[in-house]
């Protein structure tokens, strides 16, 4: 019997079209636009000026607070301007635009692909290197990794969970990373274990990636303390709380963090980035992005420099299909439609999904028939239909009492609703408003 989380969940069509496509390196773009706010928390402060020359891996914006991350140049060249362009948030945000000239890397970065297995750094050194490299959670939430590794006083982590679930349909970037960079991933996991001071790590992988499970299981015998756990395919298993419940059967209470039950969860992408940052001195300036969709000519997994315009990725995968309805950054469940094809790839961009006109648009909203499907599938045990009704009527205190802040925005409720009701939209609205009210209350 394969493990999974017990409450709720859905199984959308997997559509992992690009699963067996090896990672290709996307040619350097002519110009990149690097957003300074690619993470949760304060935007980074720009420390370069127009006409400055930069090298690959050079810091161009420094962390704007504790919950923030450094931003590095992903190319070498000249700073063309500092402007505002549409990014994945749907708004024009500050970006540093760099004209690409050659490909000159910072001298400290080790360019060779040789595996460095020996960990010769102390806990503090590892943490410092991760902070400097500007690593954020690459699963999509982009929470700065060094903050997650700094365990608050009085709490203790006893297990590290590496998230190789990739439960979003279509996306295969983590899958490919696990297949092609397996040893690096293992070393990265050990680095994270050392930084956290734990001696056990479990990599959770869903059962639709048998090749990755097999490869990593064989490999894990050579790495002390790392185990592989195969999981039943169920969305949203990649959610931190669901994954903890599935793998070690601990339940994170409402309003608490995984560290409260002694667990810390990191994505496989993050573990690989940590390996590169610590062992190769390479900051986070490129990532694997899946470009996919049913009508895309050649779906691909691309290694992309941060700041590359989305259009370039689509061109590499055979161009924009004629019947494209929406271009989504991320997966179909939690991703967000882009409003400009010039939006740059950011640290949190795990995939670019092209949906056709038939797939993309929402069907007509009908009345709620009280079938309670949304209640059945909610992995957090909420009542989405009720939250939506209360949200439409703007009764924020009721919404708070109904634990709207527990919602992980997985979208399972909107996915199963037979009346196509915009459940998640109103829940997000409620989270936004209730969040404001809670912050106001705290500051008073």
């Amino acid at each position: 019997m394969l493990r999974t989380f017990p409450k709720g969940g859905v199984h959308p069509p997997e559509n992992k079209i690009s699963a067996d496509k090896p990672i290709e390196i996307l040619p350097l773009p002519k110009q990149v636009a690097i957003p300074v706010s690619q993470h949760i928390g304060a935007p980074a402060k720009i420390i370069v000026n127009r006409k400055d020359k930069v090298k690959v891996g050079q810091i161009i914006a420094s962390s704007g607070g504790f919950v923030s991350a450094n931003i590095h140049s992903s190319v070498s060249g000249t700073i063309a301007k500092i402007d505002k362009v549409f990014d994945t948030s749907g708004y024009r945000k500050d970006v540093v635009i760099i004209d690409v000239e050659g490909d000159e890397w910072d001298d400290n970065i080790l360019k060779s692909n040789d595996l460095i297995k020996q960990i010769s750094y102390s806990k503090e050194e590892i943490l410092k290197k991760i902070t400097e490299a500007g690593i954020v959670g690459l699963g999509g939430a982009t929470f700065p990794t060094h903050v997650k590794l700094a365990v608050p006083g009085g709490k203790k982590a006893d297990i590290l969970i590496i998230n190789g679930v990739e439960c979003e349909p279509y996306l295969t970037s983590d899958h490919r990373l696990m297949m092609e960079k397996s040893s690096e991933l293992m070393v990265g996991t050990q680095l994270l274990m050392k930084a956290l001071g734990v001696d056990k790590a479990i990599i959770g992988i869903e059962n639709n990636k048998p090749d990755a499970i097999e490869k990593l299981t064989t490999l894990s015998k050579g790495f002390q303390g790392i185990e592989i756990q195969a999981l039943k395919v169920k969305y949203p298993q990649g959610g931190e709380k669901q994954l903890i419940k599935a793998i070690i059967n601990r339940e994170v209470p409402s309003g608490a963090l995984p560290i409260d039950v002694g667990a810390v969860v990191h994505n496989v992408g993050t573990a690989f980035a940590v390996y590169e940052a610590v062992q190769k001195n390479k900051p986070l300036f490129e990532r694997v992005v899946t470009v996919t969709g049913k009508f895309v000519k050649s779906p691909k997994n691309l290694l992309v420099r941060i700041g590359t315009p989305t259009m370039q990725l689509i061109d590499a995968a055979g161009g924009l299909p004629e019947n494209t309805g929406k271009v989504i950054s991320g997966g179909p469940m939690m991703g967000k439609a882009l409003n400009s094809l010039d939006a740059p790839v950011a640290k949190g961009t795990s995939g670019i999904l092209l949906l056709s006109k038939d797939e993309a648009f929402r069907a007509e909203t009908k009345a709620c028939i009280r079938c309670a499907k949304c209640v059945n599938v909610c992995p957090m045990g909420l009542e989405p239909f009720l939250l939506m009704t209360v949200g439409e009527r703007k009764i924020w205190d009721r919404m708070e009492n109904e634990r709207v802040m527990d919602c992980i925005e997985c979208g399972s409720c909107s996915f199963v609703c037979p009346s196509n009701r915009p459940l998640l939209d109103y829940i997000r609205l409620g989270k936004n408003k209730v969040g404001q009210i809670i912050r106001q209350r705290k500051s008073n």
């Binding site: 505002k84 708004y91 024009r92 409003n339 648009f361 929402r362 909203t365 939209d425 109103y426 609205l429």
Partner: protein, 290 residues
Amino acid sequence: MSEIVLYTILTVTAVGVTAATILYFAAQKFKVFEDPRIDQVEEALPSANCGGCGYPGCRNFADACVKADNLDSLFCPVGGNETMAKVAKILGKEVAQQAPKVAVVKCNGQPKFRARINVYDGPISCTIEHMMGAGDTACQYGCLGGGECVEACKFDAIHMNPNTMLPEVIDELCTACGACVVACPRDIIELRTKNKKDRKIFVSCVSQDKGATTTKVCQVGCIGCSKCLKVCEYDAITIGNNLAFIDSDKCRLCRKCVDVCPTNSILEIGFPPRKLKKEDSGADINQSNA
């Protein structure tokens, strides 16, 4: 038989009298003194319960008026000076006259001026659309057309114009309670001092983008070029964040700024039509309200 009737009457009367006595003393003991002036003030208020004064309803406002030492920070925008004078008379306090205000929608991004580059197919709610991104046009500051201001108005003073897809304020009905200002997630609506004959001059744009970006996304956006600033003789105009702002308290309605504005983002409303130029400007949009 008659005995039963008699006993019943006696018992019920006894219970009644006892209960009445208890209730009388209870009422005396737990009596809450309430200033009778609160009722009087409440009577004088418009009973709109709109919350424009900052209190949850008219009764709470009346209570605040009675308890306050002076009426300086209290004002009922719906009733205006007339009501406040009545309130002041009841309470024997002084009240300063305040200039009446009116809500003004500061966006002129009609479809003909601002192209739709995207399709938004989510629920019709400005706040939700605002949370998702810039909306279906490329302007991330302008009106989304979801009509949350219309929903918020208790006086039926604001409506969506189906042609312009923008909200319009009916000046006679607007009480300047500020409900629409709060409802708008993009802070497009402003309360401005009312002028004679409902004449208005204002910058109908809130875009803080650089001029180059603004011209790309909307033909009538303010580009912050400062031409109006230079021509204004009354220091009514300030420029900040690539956006001009006309202070309605200082503006003397000379209309010089309207003439120099290169993007027609300054609107003049309620003026008699000019002889030659400006027929194609955005000034005709709200003309029907004048």
